[in-house]
């Protein structure tokens, strides 16, 4: 789901598990996308730390 909501931030590996594509701090321009992914995760597995 995160890979659909924020394809710039999340992708998936060869078995479909989510992976974070961004290294280090999240660039400001991707913050909205990352928040969208956070708000769409049924598992509440995404946490954005300031």
């Amino acid at each position: 789901m995160c890979a659909i909501a924020a394809p710039e931030v999340f992708g998936s590996d060869e078995i479909g598990n989510a992976v974070v594509l961004v290294e280090g701090d999240l660039p400001r321009e991707l913050e909205a996308a990352a928040r969208r992914a956070e708000g769409n995760c049924p598992e509440r597995a995404i946490e954005i730390r300031e």
Binding site: I15, G16, R36, P42, E43, R44
Partner: protein
């Protein structure tokens, strides 16, 4: 029969998921349970079950597989004949696998359903949707359920398995025999199950003699889990899974979505004018019409949110109820095709979250997009004539529209 007018006490203690009212419109009943003082109801019907209805409870249970096991996932008890017969070991891995076996079973099928892997089915799905519409567009009417929705996932699954499309009517019969009729008529359930097993035993024989490069059955026969080749019972189970999990689930989602669009001109126009909302629209339709309810079996006596649960108790994971929980979703009963935050659990949660969700999403999106391109305006001929089936998987089985 007739739960619509039942008292709250009756609903909380005697709900019947096969009741006609519950099947045709479960949401008022689910809302009553969720917003009562007893959001985890317990019914003595259909062999007895608990039914959590709040999003937080369902997710918590799904994330605790050591207590809420998947040794059975049917909404009513498996018949002893299907559990103990000569092929009693044929299950639906990894849906009904528990740890520690679960991980290997799930790992075995995940590559087939990864986003990159399912992308190759998009153009084929589009073609087959167009061909189905070619078959009825000149009539001016069609059954959106049986002429269209029902025929899409079964053909995609046939392609993945490497079996001919001519099996489509048999597959649909067998799957409905297991998941619909068979839940009530055990004899039909058992016969349908045996037809599936017999068919795939022949397919396995055939692939063993003539292995192919590009079908799932051949891939499964080459598979090793923890360095050991898998046995035929596992391969039969995985093939069984493709039919049981891959056909009437997605077809129900497509059918419910078309039923929705048939009576919501505003949403048809919104999709036409703003094609950029397709991704959120698909998620929203999955949220409000989540077709699937799965069960869990309690491993040992425990208390959950004040409810005394006993080893062997059945829990009905009412994903459709969770998806309309006002604690998680603003205006839960409104369908907002551009909904931004949507933590729906149409695919479940935890280690058993649907392994085929990427394929299901693709099929649902393409089926709806092709329909809307070809038939932008359509309506129900008679809303009262739409028939629904439910229990384990809910969706329209007859949905006549004109255009």
């Amino acid at each position: 029969m007739g739960m619509r007018n039942a008292s709250l006490d009756e609903i909380l203690n005697h709900y019947d998921i096969f009741d006609d009212d519950f099947v045709s419109d479960p949401f008022p009943l689910l809302d009553q349970i969720r917003e009562s003082g007893c959001p985890i109801a317990h019914s003595d019907q259909n062999g007895g079950s608990w039914m959590p209805t709040r999003h937080a409870h369902i997710v918590a249970m799904a994330q605790t597989p050591e207590i809420f096991t998947s040794r059975e996932v049917g909404v009513i008890e498996l018949s002893p004949e299907s559990r103990e017969g000569p092929y009693g070991g044929v299950r639906v891995p990894p849906i009904d696998s528990d740890p520690p076996e679960h991980h290997g079973h799930r790992r075995a099928i995940l590559p087939t359903f990864a986003p990159q892997a399912v992308a190759k089915y998009e153009s084929i799905t589009r073609d087959l949707c167009n061909r189905l519409i070619d078959g009825f567009i000149d009539n001016g009417t069609a059954d959106a359920a049986s002429d269209y929705a029902q025929r899409i996932p079964v053909r995609v699954i046939s392609m993945i398995l490497g079996v001919p499309f001519e099996m489509e009517d048999d597959f649909v019969d067998w799957v409905r025999g297991v998941l619909e009729t068979g839940l009530i008529d055990r004899e039909v359930g058992l016969q349908s199950r045996m037809k599936i097993i017999t068919f795939f035993m022949q397919q396995i024989e055939d692939r063993r003699a003539n292995p192919r490069d590009d079908d799932l059955i051949s891939d499964l026969l080459r598979l090793e889990i923890d360095g050991q080749p898998v046995d035929d019972i596992f391969v039969l189970g995985a093939c069984n899974l493709m039919l049981i999990a891959g056909i009437d689930t997605t077809w129900s989602a497509i059918g419910s979505s078309l039923w929705h669009l048939a009576h919501r001109a505003d949403h048809r126009h919104q999709l036409r004018d703003r094609p950029d909302i397709w991704p959120t629209a698909v998620e929203e339709l999955l949220r409000v019409y989540a077709p699937v309810t799965m069960a869990r079996i309690v491993a040992h006596d425990t208390e959950f949110e004040g409810c005394p649960m006993h080893a062997g108790d059945r829990i009905l994971m009412a994903f459709p109820a969770a998806n309309r929980d006002p604690r998680v979703f603003e205006s839960p009963d409104q369908v907002l095709l551009d909904r931004e935050n949507n933590r729906h659990v149409a695919f479940g949660a935890g280690i058993h979250r649907c392994a085929g969700s990427n394929l299901a999403r693709l099929e649902l999106r393409v089926a709806l997009q092709v329909w809307m391109e070809r038939i932008p305006e359509f309506e129900l001929i008679d809303p009262a004539d739409v028939t629904w089936k439910g229990g384990q998987v809910r969706g329209p089985r007859r949905c006549m529209v004109r255009f």
